[in-house]
Every structure is written in C-alpha cells, then in structure tokens.
Amino acid sequence: MTGSTTSDRPDSGGGLSTRRLLAVLFREEWRMHTQLFGGWRFALFPVVIAVLAVGATVALLETGTAQGTIVGGLHALAVAFGLYSGTAGFAGSDMLENVFGRLSLLLSSSTTLPLSRRWLLGVFLLKDALFYGVAFVLPMALSSAALTGFSAATPVAVGLFWLSLCLVFAVGMATTVGLIAIRTRGVPPWTIGLAVGLSVVGIWATGSLGAVQSVLVPVRGSAIAAGGLAVSTIVVAMVSLVAYNPTYGRPSRTATDRFARLSGALPFENAPLVTKSLLDLARSSGGVWKPFVSASILLALVAALVGVVDSITGIVPAPGIFFGGVLGLSAFTTYNWLTQFDSLEAYLAYPVSIADVFRAKRIAFVLVGAPTVAVPYLAAVIWFNATLLDAVVGAILLAGYALYYYGLTVYIAGFDPNEFLFDAVRFATFTVGVAVALVPTLVAGFVVVPPSVELAAALGVGGVVMGVIGIVLSSRAGPRWDAKYRTE
C-alpha cells in the first residue's frame, strides 16, 4: 500500500468504540445463528458439545486410554477448530465476500461507512474468538471434570483447562489469519502451501514433534511456557492484522474451455452437472488438492493418536479396519468442498430436477472421493504393516462407510453441510449416525488383532450394508430437499 485513507487506519472506528462494535457484532452473530437454525436448536449446541466431550472422555477412560492422550486429543481439536474459525479472516477481502458478505451486514459496512476495514476485521475476529471460546470451547473443557473426578477443586481445574484450550484455539485462529494476511500481500497460495508443508516435514524430520505437542498442551506445561505462547499468539495476531492488506483484490483469472471436452468424456446422464461440480472444485482456491489435504490431515491426526496409544498401552489396532473406518469420515469434508461455492436454488432456473442435482453430486463425490481416500489408506496399511485380509476388509469398510457418511450428510444437511455444524438437532443426529457405524468397528479393530476370518467377513458384510444404506439415503435426499425447497 502506498498510502492509507482515514478509514484504513487501524484505530479508525469513527464515533464507534471498540466495545460498542463488539456488542453489536455479538448481537448480529447470535441472531444469524438463531435465524439459521432456530433459537433453541442453536442454544442447545453447546450442550451437545458438552455431552459429546464428557461422554467420549468417560468412554475413552473406560477403555483404558491414557489421560494424556485424551488431553492431547482435545487440544488438537481446539487447534483445528481455531484454524477453521480463522478463515473468517477471508471475509475482510473480496475473496470470500460472496460467502460471508451476505451474512454479516456489519462486516461489509466498511464499504459504506467511514470505518476501517482492518479495524472492523480485527474486532470481528476478536468477537469470534470470544464467542466460540464460550459457546464451543467451554463445553469441551467440561471433560476435565470427567478426567479428574469431582472435588472442591473441580471448578478451578475446569477453568484452567478451558484457558488452555482457549489459548490453543487462539493459536489456530492466529495462524490462519497470519497466512491470509501473507496472501493479501500477493504471495501465491502454492508458496504458502509449500512453506507450511516444509515446516510440517521439518518438525517431523528433526524429531521436534514431541516439543511441539508439549507446547500446544499448555495445561501440562509450565506457566512460563503458557505465557510465552500467549504473548507469541498476540504478537502474531497483531502483526498479521497490520500486514493484512484490506484493499487486496485478486486479479481476474482466465481459463481455457474445458467444459465441453470433460462433459463429453463423462459417460453419465447428468454429465453437465457433474462437470460443473468438478470444474468449480478444481478452479476454486486450493484446487482439487483440497479434499486430499483434508483426508491427509485426518490420517495424520489418527496416525499420531495410534502412535500415542501404542506407546502408552502397547495396543496397536488392526490398521486396515481402523483406518478404513476412520478415513471414511473424510466423506464429509469432500462433500463440503464440492458444495462450497454452489447453491441449490440456482439450479431451479434450469430444466433439471433437484434429484438430478443430487445424483450429479454423488457421482462427483465418488470421482473425487475415491482417489482422495485411497492414497492415504494405502499409505496407512503399508506404514502399519496390515495383513492382506485386514487391508482388504479395511478397503471394503472405507468404501462402504464413506458412502454411508456421505448419504447421511446429504440427507440431513442437503446442500449446506457446513451449516448443520451449529444446529444441535442435526449435529446430534449426524453424530449418532456416525457412531453407530464407527464405534463397533473401532472396538473390533482394537480387540481382535489381526482380524479372524469370521470377524473380517462380518465387518465386510457390515461395510457393504452401510454402503447400500448410504446410497439409499443419498437417493432419498433429492425428493426430500425438493419438497422442502418447493413448499417452504
């Protein structure tokens, strides 16, 4: 930037104080969620989080999982949630204005009112951190009570655990905002991706993973280390905000005509709809690698967890069954990427039925999802030395469960998988649906190693059945959402 206008100065909020803006943003956030999901369904969401967190903690303790593993897992979840929440930083630029701009009148008001966009974004992110810190991270922290048991010190323990989770949640947010700020300075995404990838490999290669893990679990470390992390996070957040270029506009992109050739090559009735989905995915930020990166992150988290469990208890699950069951969950993120920039209403201008649109999405999901999970799965079964039988059963589970999770997501959430994350009823339904398939599979994967032929056969049949259920659910999603859109 060569110069900044009055409204670009970080302290420029016109006559509006930061505290007042925070209050208004909180009100808007609350109304947005209650409007989208209904007041009580959103208000119940923290309760669902608390029940899930405490329930999972108790279940893991009962099955012999070490406390350290559970604490580490909760902190990993908080970091991941923070990384995700930080993407709200996109809203300050025009990159995702179509997603956030429609939802937040205040956030887009810097274009019409004498308010600094950078200041507005900073306060917006602070609001997000506080809002999610209370509504989502606090319920997670209640699992501390299940870890330590109830006593007079429980409130203090929960409070400290909450602060620890909040801190790493903020670390996640600051990291994402920092990366976005770098992006607004014109650094190409591939350079940022390469730097992040090299950093991760570097940490792993130099054996620094343990050190990073200990830093990111402040409640287990010293107060000085936690304070250092807090100060570093604040510095990164402030520097990011200063570095963030509010006037950044991505240059127009062009593309050669690929639609007709791709559509002609696809042997499906709904080829044009499938082609549109694939090109939208391939050309949006991150390209076709987005689903693969999501699945790889899932693989890395689960593999790390297996390593920790092994080091503490000496138990290693059957890799095929374990990873086959868990990696199927990437169906949710893959479908999310496929619908990220799509709107069901828009298709109603064409002579296509909503059922056709859902069928096309299912084909696109299979085309994208199959290689997305196949590579991480193969890597896992090779790395953990799966037996042939275990690997084959795991592959069947992976395919069947991925279709099932996909069908479940589409049936419950339609074209907006992201939105149901904050709807207590839908989220609880999805969680129960996932648990029904996943929990027995994981138990079997841990108990019978390597799997017997009988168990393998039973699990294989189970995988096929779940896959069929998934296909039925996704087939019924079309008529279900068609009725909703046309009558409500």
Partner: protein, 253 residues
C-alpha cells in the same frame, strides 16, 4: 389461450401470505411489466410460474404446462433471469453457456453461435475466457441475460432486467426486449423501475400485498385524464396500505 394464465394463486410462507389470490393473463406478443413495492409478492409469483415454488392454491398455466405438477417441462420451454443473479461459479462465460446449452439439449454449434452473437450484442467478447466469479456484477448480468435467451424461448421471465448494466447496454437490452416480444413471444418483466416499465412494456400489472390491484395497457400511451404510471402506482399501492411504501404525502414533503 394466453401464454401465461394465473387464477386465484395463493402462496404463504408460514404466517406470511406472500401471494393472496393473484389473477392475470399474459398473451403472446406482450411485454408485461409486473410492478410493485418490496415484499409485494413479485418474486414469489415468478418462482411459482417457473415451478420453483409449489403454490398453496390456484391454477397456473405457462405455455399449456402446469408448473406445479410439471416444473421441468415448464422450465424447458421458458427462459428465466433470476433476481439474485448467479452464484459464484468458476466456469468462464463460454463454459457456463455450454453448460446451459447441454442442460437444455441444444447443439454445440447453436450454443457457440449464440454465445458469439450475444457477447457482441452486450459487449462481453473480451470476457469469454474470464472466470465468472471474477467478472463485475454488470458483466455477470450480461451472461445471465444470455442464458435466459440462448434457447429462444416463447416465454421469458425476467427479474430486474437492467440491474447493474451501463446506460448503453440498458438501451440495447430495452430495444431487444421490445423486439423479442413483438416476435410473437411473451416477456414477463418484474421491476421497480416505473420509467423503464412505462417505456418498454405493452401492459403493466401493479401488485401490492400479494394481489394484483390494477392493470394498465401502455400500447397507446395514457388516455386523456389518466395520470402517469407513477401516480397510478403510488395511488393504488397506497390504497392497499402497504406498510413499507412511502405515501404520496411523504414524497411531497
């Protein structure tokens, strides 16, 4: 038989009655203006006429099809320019129009010819390879106008046809709409712009609180003693006591 026929149409969203007994007919050769204040029921009516929304009551016929029971058949025959434009898409205009052509079963050659013709007419030839999401709103509107006419439908539904267009292109679009309707087609235009309606429409219907409150033919201009279309609009809408519309007194003061 009218190209569009609506009898006793009703549609509610929960407690809100968006369309409360709508009746009108549009013939071929007409450019029909659908005027009304915000929230009068215009968009809901268009969505019902194009099979996007199921009516609660009433009969609707568009080119002898029933949008309520055969929405795909209706949408196959008509062109639609939706109110909210297009979602952010990563196709280029050329690819997007190929997509629309395939969905509408048009030959590739015809789509290619129409794409070039429309790009020249509306001035987006240089943007044919730019990602749709990176186009300005005006350029996106031009592409959306093209998709509504690419199959040369007998009936076209348009919500705010001139939104975001520069004055030169506005003139071209207005002239095109007049000539298109004159070619034995029906063009149904929903707009807030009374001047534009008065300039291009052959007939207008004024909507308030989900009902058609009056119609006026504009073929031969206003009769002696009749006020302007704006006066008629304010008078009829005010008579319906529409809450969100300023009164004549407010405007006068």
């Amino acid at each position: 038989m009218g190209a569009i026929r609506v009898d006793g149409l009703r549609k509610s969203y929960g407690a809100v009655e968006a369309v409360a007994g709508m009746n009108f007919t549009v013939e071929r050769g007409e450019l029909y203006g659908f005027l009304g204040p915000n929230g009068a029921g215009k968009t809901t009516t268009i969505r019902t006429l194009t099979g996007q929304v199921q009516p609660d009551a009433g009969t609707v016929r568009v080119l002898e099809t029933d949008p309520a029971t055969e929405p795909l058949e209706t949408r196959r025959k008509v062109g639609i320019l939706p109110e909210q434009g297009s979602p952010p898409s990563f196709l280029t205009p050329r690819e997007y129009l190929e997509f629309v052509g395939e969905v509408r079963d048009l030959s590739a050659d015809r789509v290619a010819d129409q794409t070039v013709a429309w790009a020249e007419r509306l001035g987006f030839e240089s943007k044919l390879e730019t990602l749709h999401t990176d186009l300005s709103r005006g350029q996106q509107q031009k592409v959306m106008i093209t998709q509504a006419f690419i199959h040369e439908p007998d009936v076209v539904f348009i919500d705010e046809p001139l939104a975001n267009l520069d004055p030169l292109v506005q003139e071209q679009v207005k002239r095109f709409l007049i000539s298109y309707a004159a070619g034995d087609n029906a063009v149904f235009v929903s707009t807030h712009n009374i001047d534009v309606a008065e300039e291009i429409c052959t007939r207008v219907g004024i909507v308030a609180d989900g009902q058609l409150v009056t119609e006026r033919s504009l073929d031969n201009g206003a009769d002696e003693g009749e006020g302007s279309l704006l006066e008629l609009f304010l008078e009829r809408v005010e008579a319906e006591e529409t809450r969100d519309t300023p009164t004549l007194e407010h405007l006068g003061s």
